[in-house]
Every structure is written in C-alpha cells, then in structure tokens.
Symmetry: C2
Subunit: 574 residues, 2 copies
C-alpha cells in the first residue's frame, strides 16, 4: 500500500518498481528466500531446471551454434533466459523493463522462419540479448532511471515516439535474429560507477551482495554475471561498460567512437561531443563478445547512423595481429606490452596489484616483453574528462531530475557548476586533441624500447583501484576516463577475485595524493572478499580487431595458468 | 616610402607585402606591364622559356613520371615553378610566403638522393607543392592574412614554435619527396568566399581579373590555374577548397573529416568541432588530385594525427565502383545520379544552369539515370553551418583582428553576436546529427527510384550560384555549406566558363527569396564573361574512393563531349 503522505515522485517510482515485478510471471516469483552473499552458481541454479541451467550457462557462441542449426528452439532458449533473468532481478535489482511475452513471440517467429526456410534469420538467430535502459524498444518505457521519464519519451509527455520508436541498434539486432527480452538498470544520470535509482533501488553484485555491480551499465553486468543474459549492450563515456565488466567477472569492450551505432538511443547531455559516449558489448566469454560485435558490424551501421564509421570487421588486421605472436612456422613470437601499475593519482588496492602482478608473470613466462608504462600521462586525461562531463554546469542532468523533483542519490549527485561558453568548449577540444597527440607520440616512441621494433602492442592496466566496490566508495575513475579522452579501445577481461587470505601488502606510508591515502585506508580484506577483478587491455584508436585478437590469445593463456575452464567465473585463489 | 601618418598596422602590412615581393629574385620581377583581363595561357607564357612552359604545363602525374625516373631534375622543375609562381603573384596577388631558396636546396638534395640510391624519395619526388597559409613551414611566417600574426606564432609573440614548427601535412609531404616552395593567400578570418587581406590586397581571378579567385583557398586556386603550382593543399569548412576550384577552372576535393591530417596547422576558431574544417587538395587534373591524395594516405596520417581515421586508400572500393559502370564483359552499366538544380533558396545564374544542363545531357546520352534531387533539404544544412561558424559570437576572429587593430575588410566582416553556451552547442550538435540522419534516410530512399536498385551513386550540383564572382557579390554559400554540415565528400571539376553569348535565360519573375532576386539581378553577362564554372560531384561520408573513381570516368566523358584536351583550361563555348 502506498503512503498517502509520500511525495508524488516516490509514488511514481514505487508504482514503476511494482510494475517491473508484476511483469514477472507468477510461477517465477521467489518469496521467503534469504539469499546468501554470493547468489551466482548453485544458489541461482536452485530455481532452475537442469535443462534451463544447460542453456543459460552456455555462452553466446555455443547457443547460436544450437539455435542457428535448429538444435535448440529459440522459444526454449528465450524462456530459459527469461526465467533466469526474472530470478536475477529479484536477487539483485538489475532490470528496468521486462518484455518476456514479446520476446517469446519473436522467438516463435524465428522458429517458424527456420522451419519454413531451413535458414536462420541471421548470425544471432534465437540469441537473447539484453540492453541497457538507454535503448528504445517498442512497447516499453526508457526511463534511464529518471522518475520523471516514466511514461514519457525521454521526459517528453505525449511524444508520439513513446513506446513506438526503436533505436538503430535495436533494429540491427532484430535483423540479426536476436531476441530482445529485457532492459537493464542504470544509475540516474548515468554518470556513476555504481547503479542506483529510485525506481529499482540499488543493483547489487551477484558475487557478493555487499558490493556494487558497478555502473553505469551495472544492470547488464549483474544480469550477465548471473547468466540471466548471454550478452548485452551497455554504453561507456567514462568506464560504464568496463567497470561493470570488471566488477562482475565478465567481458566488456569499450570500442572507439564510431564503431557501434548510437543513433536513436537516449543519452545524458546529448550533443556533448568532446568525449562521445560509445556503445559496447558485455558477455560471458571473449568469443561471445566478438560474436555480437562482429554481428552488429555486418549490418553496416554507417549506412543508418550518421556517427558510425564505414569500418567493417577488418579480417586483414585480425590476421596480421595473429602473425605477430605466431611466426610462419607456428612458433611463438614476441609481443610487447606496457604495464600501467598506477595512474599517478591513486594506487590500486592489494587485490588489484596481485592481479596485475599475476598478468605480468604470465606475459614474462610466455616470453613477451613488458615495459613500464608512463604513470604521469593519465592525470590530464582524467581532468579533461571531468571538465567535459561538467561543461554545462549540470544543466542537462538537473533538468531531468527536476522533472519529478526526485531526491538526490549520493552516488549520482550533481553539483550545479560553471556553464562553459562556446569558446571554452573549443579550448577544451583543443586541450583534448593536444593530449591525444602527446599520448600518441609517447606510444610511438616506445618502438625505441621494444625488441620487436614496433611500438608496444597493447597496454595492461587496472579497471579501478579496487575490486567490485563497497557501496558509496567509488571515489576515483582515473583508470577508465583517460581512455575515453583518448578514444582508445579497451577490452576488460576477468582475471580473479579479491582474496582476504592474500599476503597483505607492504604497509604504505607514502601516498600519491590524499585520495590515494583514503582509498588505501578503505581497503577491507574481509568485505571485499570475493569481489571480481578485471583488467583492461588497451589498444589505440579504432584498433578493435587487434585488441580482440590479442585478448583471445591472452585469455587462453590465463585459463591455462589458472586452470579455470570459464574465465567469467573466476576463482578467488589465483 | 611609408607615410608617417599611416597607422602601425598599415605599416606592418605594407612592410610584409614588400617583403613578399622582395623574396622574388630580381630577374623574375615584372615591371611596366599592362596585363589583360585573362593572364593565363599566352600572356603568362610570355615571361617563360619554352622549357619552363613544358614543365609547368605538365600535370603532377606527368611531372612525377619524369622526376621519379630522373628524366627531369627536381631542381629544374622546382626552378620553373618558382619562376612561374613569382610571375603569377605579381599578376594576381596569390602568395603570402615565398621560400624558393629552401625549395631549391631541397630539390638539390632530392637529385643527389636519386643519383646516389637510384631511387626516388617517394611518390611525389621532386614535385613542387603549394600550401594555403595555414600550414606551418619552418623558416617562414604563417599569417593567415592577419596583420597581427606577422612575425608571431599564430599571434603569439616570442613563441618558440615561430618559424620552427612544421605541420603534420608538411612533414608527410617532405617524406613523400614533395618540394615546398610557397604559401598562398587567404582572406583574413578564412571565413569568406573571396580572398582579401591587408597584406596582399585582393587575389584576382587569372581568367578574368575583374573577378574573384574565390576563397578561402583563393591563392591556391589562382596560383594553380596559372600553373604556378601543379598541386596544392587548401582547407574547407564551408566551400573553401571547392569555391576556388570552381572559380579557377581546376580540380578540388573536400574529403570527409578524418582523411587528411590537420594536426599542427593554424585555423580559425580552433577547437570548434561541430563542423570540422578539412584539408583538401587542388590540382590541374583529376589524376593529379588523386595522386597527391593517395600519397598523403600512404603516410598513414592516423599514426601521427589524433583526428585522422585509419582509412588507407581502399582499392577494393575503387574496384567495386569501376564495376558499377563497366560490367563483366566490359560493356557500360548504368549509374544513377541525383541532380540538384537549385538549393531551395537561390537559383543559379544562367551560366551555371547551362553547365548543369550540359552535364545532365552527357549523363543521359551515356544511358545513366538522372533523378531530380530534393531542393528542400539544403536550407537546414546551411543554417546549421551558419550557427556553427558564429557560435562564439565572433570572439576568436575578432581577437585576431584586434591584435593589430587592422581595419575591417567588407568581404570578411565579423559581426559580434550571441556567444552560445555549452548546452546550446550541444543542442546544435544534436540538430546537426538529426539533419545528417534525415539526409541519409533520404539518400537511402532513392533505391526505390533507381533502376539499379541502389541508392543514387552520386549527386551533381553547382558549387555557387554564379561563375567566379564579381568582387563583393558573394552573397550565398548555400551550395557548399550543406555539404560541410553533412560531412560528405565533394569533388569539384571544371566544366565550362561563363559565356556572354549564350541564349539568355527566360525572364524570371518568381523568386525563391529576396536573395534569389538580388543574385538574379546581379547577373551581368558582360562582366562574368570568361569566369570559370565547376560542378560538385557529391558522395556520402568518407566515400572518397568512390567519388574519385566516378569523377575520373565523368571527366573523360566531358572531355569527349567538349573536345577539350585539358579540362582545367575550359573553353567558353560549350
């Protein structure tokens, strides 16, 4: 029952929250359950049939092998994921929109299509795909976590596009045969590394429900980690794909701007083009990540999205990259990697240092070269990003919050600030370009340090200074935002989970900054225990093919070293 | 002698003007000459030896065939162009910087290199290349026409980069073996379709010295039309490569942003990134244009310029395009073209209508399909461009004019206006993207109208509503600016010259706008007689390979129809 004294925005949020739950079929509701901290694996499996477990724990590559050949029906696969997503939402609050009936109708049509023609609709035939709640899908809202957007088109009442328009990515996914079934939670404003809003509350980390699922694509991260979706799409303007990937032990790609079609999606501060938000996939395996990325490119998004570049998947670059680490006779060749141990502002907590050291040991063992990467270059990239996010003094974000008068959420607070003018925006664009040039020159200069004679092939670096963060403690985005300023490509892969038993780090007494000290002091081995950690593999602008290829190779090696079958289910013990 | 009462900015401009003339060797000065209206061809040839004429009237393809094989020495070629450029400047005021001695030193080194190694330095070995005065070349100023920039680095006194730094394009051209020898005139502010500043005065049209050479790359246009340079590079944010190409009867390309490296070049309103200024080549033949464009791409500018895209010359697209108009058996296939007869705001003057009609006849005769292009879509593109140019209320341009206190030049006047804030800039970026999407959808929709089943292959349209314009009468940039807003690729090729004898157009009594009436009334068959006219061949974003390939084909056809050997020397009679 609603409290009559409750402010109207709270009533609206509560009604929407209830509507999401009401969209879950009765037989999939869970009640009187006391979930453990870790609700992945056995716990969530307890709600499912063995067949559902088999389907939902396959990755997108394995699933599409079955669905495109007709071995598994799209309906059965869709139903299994709908069921698991419904449970996931009830455990960690990861969904904004549920449209299982539509999904099952589409799946049925796909099954009929395959039966009638003998051919799959496309490479994603029958694959359920989840979407961050920025993409418009017909029949449902896009709230982006704003209470004032409920029942509107991006805050506009009575707009004919409401529940009718679809984003370009949605159109392409439908063409490819994907089955859309839910939209996932985001922090209000999108500008946060945790996911919280008045509609769904807080999206918890499935591996440790005391921790955050990250943000802003936190719903994607949590849902996919729980295997409630085999693959999905988020967006990243400061780490919003990479942080949830890292915090949930899954894979995520932040491609350079212009590869994935943003056309027709809702956004924060739309039109700000100093640093563009980009769409990136998240998935449970590197193969799945590549499958959906390549599938979207096959739709030639540049024919439909004015900001997309005419760059199909470049197989020549993929092949050239493979030859870098495999010589003509099939023997291993040397690659060279930069390792960024800290960003000059904040050192990573012990659990993340262990992950970096472990990765370095693998690279060295394999005979690759490791170069200490310049820690002095991140700061300016982060500063430019901060100025960019704040260029309108918070006007856009505050206007959407004001629509409903909803209360501030600490992690997503917006400070009204200085509103830049066009000259100041232009000066910021110049600063960004000069920063990109400086970084480019530095990267080029490493050809003098490598034994290959090439500049380093990629850079390894933390995604955040900590494992999946304690709520309210995400204080430093320096490890991800400089990549956005550079518009570099960055792929996050899972490597381990925080382990309270690891040898404690040497006591530190010197710090890079006050923030560094604070984050150091906030390390709590007990609370962080089990929080996933992923690392970034960073390539230069528009080097997605190269980075995918190197990542595939590295992930195979990490599996061999850790003895893990499934990297997206990392063990705590390295 | 200088007038002691003269304002200091006039003295500085006069001293610089004299310094440019002083850089011309004594034996190349011309005096007591009364040049005719048309100083091209026989008139300028009168100052040259037959050998110099042979060299300078070859196009860049023919020249590099001789210089890369050592048949012609780089020194001899360079000297011939220096001589002709010196004469050109004295006839039409097209140069800002002259550095013939440096050029001859470089040419000598190239000759030595070829003698020592047997190999050319690069594909442009020994080719003189001129540059618009936005590119920094060591040893000389970059004034961009601002009196306040004389003796400074972009207006900054005592900046260590002055006369030391070189733009990225300059570095690449040197790598390619090009010989840089002069920088060409621009209108102060760059934001004008005519070329005038207090340093060199007015850059006249070589074909008719009562008319304008266009702008803002007007010096390039005039110099190349006089064969004082075989090829050069300008920039285009609203037509600044295409207008001078059209007005001087030569070839010019406005590629999409990201293909040619702008890094390290001076610019107006640097950092404004709603519509990016782009670098484009100008040359005396389509082959020459392609040669220098491809040569720059071979330097992989994306490794050195953060705004360049990793798009090498795509031979696969070139070959696919060729196959569009030549089927497997070598027979002609049909292409389809949109023809934009007017931009919805201003109809072209009769001379330009004749050029469009002539081009249409050729296309139809060849069996290609011609589709009437939507005249309603240009207006918004032009409006967005205008808002973009003015987004800082003129602050940047006025600040550079204020450095010296120089007087206003009517064609380059800057009205202080509203300074947009970051939200308004973002809204403009959204408007631009939506406009691009609308245009994209329209272009895609033409697949329903063509017999090929493809959307139209390219669009033919005027470059301006008139031939090379009467000074002070460039009132409407609508034919070029919408292309910048769209970021489409556009290649201008010469087709004819205004002919006072042509049947006068049916008397018009209805007009699209007041401006339309004004420009109609300003048509003066007598004054415009002989003014060159070029047409735009427009492709979509980043379709340079396709547009080059279609343009090569069309230019061959135009030659056949007109009986002209050299399109860049168009006859008046069609």
């Amino acid at each position: 029952m609603m409290d009559p004294e409750m402010p109207s925005w709270q009533k609206a949020a509560q009604a929407k929250r209830q509507a999401i739950l009401d969209a879950i079929p009765q037989q999939w509701r869970i009640q009187h359950v006391s979930p453990p901290l870790d609700v992945t694996g056995e716990f969530i499996q307890g709600f499912l049939t063995s067949r559902e477990i088999e389907i939902t724990e396959a990755d997108a590559v394995a699933i599409t092998a079955q669905t495109t050949s007709g071995n598994w029906s799209a309906v059965e696969v869709t139903e299994a994921f709908c069921h698991r997503a419904a449970i996931a939402h009830q455990l960690v609050n990861c969904l904004h929109e549920i449209f299982f009936e539509d999904a099952l109708r589409v799946a049925k049509e796909l099954d009929e299509h395959l039966a009638a023609t003998g051919k799959p609709k496309g490479p994603l035939h029958g694959l359920p795909v989840s979407l961050k709640d920025q993409f418009h899908v017909k029949g449902v809202d896009t709230t982006m976590g704003y209470v004032g957007w409920i029942g509107t088109y991006q805050g506009k009442k009575d707009d004919p596009r409401h529940r009718v328009a679809e984003s370009e990515l949605v159109r392409e996914l439908r063409n490819l045969g994907a089955v859309l079934f839910c939209k996932t939670s985001v922090p209000v404003t999108l500008m946060a590394g945790e996911t919280a809003n008045h509609i769904i509350g807080y999206t918890w980390n499935p591996k440790n429900r005391n921790l955050s699922s990250g943000g802003s694509s936190g719903g994607e991260g949590a849902l996919i980690a729980l295997r409630g979706s085999p693959a999905g799409f988020g967006t990243d303007i400061g780490g919003s794909v990479r942080i949830p990937a890292s915090f949930n032990g899954i894979f995520g790609l932040r491609p350079s701007a212009g590869r994935m079609p943003y056309e027709g999606a809702a956004n924060s501060i739309d039109g700000q083009n100093t640093i563009l938000s980009v769409i990136g996939p998240l998935a449970t395996s590197i193969g799945a990540l590549k499958l959906v990325f390549k599938a979207v490119l096959s739709q030639e998004p540049w024919q439909y999205d004015p900001l997309s570049l005419p760059l199909p998947w470049r197989e020549d670059i993929e092949n050239l990259t493979k030859r870098l680490f495999t010589d003509k006779k099939g023997a291993a060749s040397q690659l060279s990697f930069g390792i960024l141990r800290h960003d000059g502002l904040v050192e990573p907590q012990p659990s993340v240092k262990v992950a970096i050291d472990f990765m370095e040991r693998i690279l060295r063992d394999l005979g690759h070269q490791v170069i200490e990467w310049d820690t002095g270059l991140c700061r300016e990239g982060k500063e430019i990003a901060s100025k960019t996010y704040d260029m309108d003094g918070g006007a856009d974000l505050l206007s959407h919050i004001a629509l409903s008068g909803e209360a501030e959420i600490p992690q997503c607070s917006v400070e009204p600030g200085k509103h830049l003018n066009a000259s100041e925006v232009a000066a910021l664009n110049v600063q960004k370009r000069e920063y990109q040039k400086k970084y480019m020159d530095y990267w080029n200069s490493t050809s003098k340090l490598t034994t290959t004679g090439r500049p380093v092939d990629a850079v390894i670096c933390p995604t955040a200074p900590h494992a999946a963060v304690i709520p309210g403690k995400y204080r430093h985005t320096g490890y991800t935002t400089f990549v956005n300023t550079l518009d570099y490509t960055s792929l996050v892969f899972p490597i381990c989970r925080a382990d309270k038993h690891l040898r404690s780090m040497t006591q530190r007494s010197e710090f890079l900054s006050e923030l560094d000290r604070k984050i150091y002091e906030e390390y709590d081995a007990e609370i962080y225990h089990g929080g996933p950690i992923g690392l970034q593999l960073i390539g230069r602008r528009l080097e997605e093919e190269k980075i995918f290829t190197i990542a595939e190779y590295l992930c195979e090696q990490v599996k061999l070293y850790t003895g893990q079958e499934d990297l997206a289910n990392p063990s705590i013990d390295l």
